[in-house]
């Protein structure tokens, strides 16, 4: 599988990343070499191997439905780039 520059542009758009022409070139090459390396795994017969859902051999980690204190509005907004009247303020969406 080969990643094209168009795919890099598409993924960058989905991730809201602005890339220079040079970066697009670099990332296309880097992503391709990563995928090439991972392609070694294609040599294995994984026909009867179920896909890994999680690397840890754990399941069913649950918590009880018990209310815990939330944080204050002030704390919640501490790291917000912009806020107003207790709301997070965000730029134009569409």
């Amino acid at each position: 599988m080969k990643i094209s520059k168009e795919q890099v542009e598409h993924v960058a758009m989905l991730a809201r990343l602005e890339l220079t022409e040079e970066e697009k070139q670099t990332y296309t090459e880097q992503l391709n070499s990563i995928l090439e390396y991972a392609a070694i795994l294609d040599k294995l017969d994984t026909q009867d191997v179920p896909p890994t859902a999680h690397p840890l051999p754990l399941h069913n980690v649950f918590r009880d439905d018990v209310v815990k204190p939330s944080i204050s509005q002030e704390e919640a907004l501490t790291n917000a780039p912009d806020a107003e009247d207790g709301f997070f303020k965000v730029p134009k969406i569409v």
């Binding site: 758009m13 989905l14 069913n60 939330s70 919640a76 907004l77």
Partner: protein
């Protein structure tokens, strides 16, 4: 134009679960609260936090799957659905992709007396998003928007139907049945006006006789059966027009403008449907033990269909049984009243007539009715044993709603006890007969109906308190002696 096409529709229903806390953190799910006060580092998606799944969410999902005849997966996991929208602080929604908790299933609906099975594709768990308030009139005319994350992380079930629906009526019947079921099994409080249940409607048209699917549109976030009906009617007409003119329907997401009664395209460059799902590394998978499923199954309450069936066996009409079982609260009310007053048909008449009428007039739900099942039963027993007439009963129930007092208390206080005393009634009957000679003559001339008028006059004289059966009998006896 519409006659040339067949409608093919499917629905996705999002229902907020009635847990006390959010799906992955201990923040409360309570409605209201000042903006951004029901939040914590987990549901705000701050770096370095770990979500932990609420066991109750899984249990409610299993319960729902069982009620919808689904298969409960033995192995299930969460995935990240990636997209950028400020109502999700993490820039992805934790949802389920290829291994949902419930697969398959069906709901049975009835439209115009015809029963039909609507297939369920899947049911999965996910988190709700936050609330956006725009600075302008619409999202696209707003320079900035304000975000409240109180609802972010509230557990949702997404219930996806097969494209088995062939009309607006079928679609609404399916949604009503689904919401009714969620209400019965008490997994969601189904408060539609608060948006705790939302519908996404997929609809397409195809030429009659064709078995190929047409191109569909999806209208998102409807929150009442009425909007679903109006939106579908509009969208069907719109698509039929496009197709009749030789055009093509564009596959897209649309939004319903309730005010204008139209659907609008939501197309934009941003809306690239490329969610790049991948397994959620912060949550370990679930292995749903069969014992757990069986424990939930044992505790599953009686479902609407079987409840309705039971009322039909008691002799209620299909319509009455349908209305009474339409909500669990009303069905429970009926059963509790029936426990104290043994005539199901009379009870149904009162429940559907005066009781529901008064509730509706006051705009209060059955659960908070000032008249309790025992109270209604007490009233009906007073009518049944002749203490008060049915007519007086109707004014007593109104008074019960107003004052919250018991039926017997009101009857005693206001002296409403039915006059069943022959001596007391005879005097009034004499008076009525004497002042209505024309009716007496009519009766004598064979006009049986004239007696109805005389009974009415006696009832009027006694302010409705006379026992009508006795009045009838005494009047006849009196007239025969004349």
């Amino acid at each position: 134009m519409l006659e040339d096409f067949e409608i093919v529709a499917g629905v996705e229903v999002h229902a907020e679960l009635a847990t006390k806390t959010k799906i992955f953190c201990g923040c409360t799910t309570e409605f209201g609260g000042e903006q951004n006060t029901h939040v914590c580092p987990v549901c705000l998606g701050l770096p370095g936090v770990l979500p932990v799944l609420n066991r109750q969410v899984v249990e409610y999902a299993i319960k729902t799957g069982l009620a919808l005849n689904s298969e409960i997966a033995e192995f299930s996991k969460f995935d990240r659905k990636n997209y950028y929208y400020p109502d999700l602080p993490k820039n992805f929604q934790t949802s389920q992709y290829d291994l949902p908790i419930c697969l398959g299933g069906h709901v049975e609906i009835e439209v115009d007396g015809v029963k039909k099975r609507i297939g369920i594709t899947r049911v999965h768990m996910e988190e709700d998003a936050g609330k956006l308030v725009h600075s302008g009139a619409t999202i696209s005319t707003s320079d900035v928007s304000f975000v409240d994350y109180n609802r972010t992380g509230v557990p949702l079930l997404e219930i996806v139907s097969e494209p088995d629906l062939r009309s607006v009526d079928e679609t609404v019947a399916y949604l009503e049945k689904l919401v009714q079921t969620l209400d019965y099994i008490e997994v969601s409080d189904c408060r539609m006006e608060q948006g705790s249940v939302r519908f996404d409607i997929n609809v397409s048209l195809r030429p009659k006789g064709s078995d190929k699917l047409g191109i569909r549109t999806e209208t998102k976030n409807l929150n009442s059966f009425g909007s679903v009906r109006r939106c579908m009617e509009y969208e069907i007409e719109r698509q039929a027009e496009v197709l009749s003119e030789g055009g093509q329907v564009i596959q897209e997401t649309r939004t319903w403008d309730e005010g204008r009664g139209i659907t609008l395209s939501l197309r934009s460059k941003e809306e690239a449907h490329d969610y790049r799902y991948f397994p959620e590394p912060d949550l370990v998978p679930m292995v749903i033990e069969r014992e757990w499923v069986e424990r939930v199954r044992e505790r599953l309450p009686e479902l609407p269909d079987s409840r309705r069936e039971r009322l039909l066996e008691l002799g209620l009409s299909a319509y009455d049984a349908g209305v009474i079982t339409s909500s669990k609260a009303l069905a429970e009310f009926f059963d509790a009243a029936l426990d104290k007053f043994k005539d199901p048909k009379t009870l149904a008449n009162w429940v559907m007539g005066d009781f529901l009428g008064l509730l509706k007039a006051k705009g209060i739900p059955v659960q908070s009715s000032p008249v309790k099942p025992e109270g209604l039963a007490e009233l009906l027993n007073l009518v049944e044993n002749g203490t008060i007439s049915g007519k007086i009963g109707k004014s007593v129930i109104g008074e019960m709603f107003e004052s919250g007092k018991g039926a017997a208390e009101i009857v005693k206080e206001k002296g409403l006890v039915q006059i069943s005393d022959t001596g007391a009634l005879s005097g009034i009957i004499d008076k009525v007969v004497n002042s209505n000679p024309q009716s007496v003559t009519d009766f004598k001339a064979g006009k049986e109906r004239a007696i109805g008028f005389l009974v009415g006059q006696v009832m009027k004289e006694t302010k409705g308190q006379a026992n009508p059966g006795l009045v009838n009998k005494l009047l006849k006896e009196k007239l025969e002696t004349m």
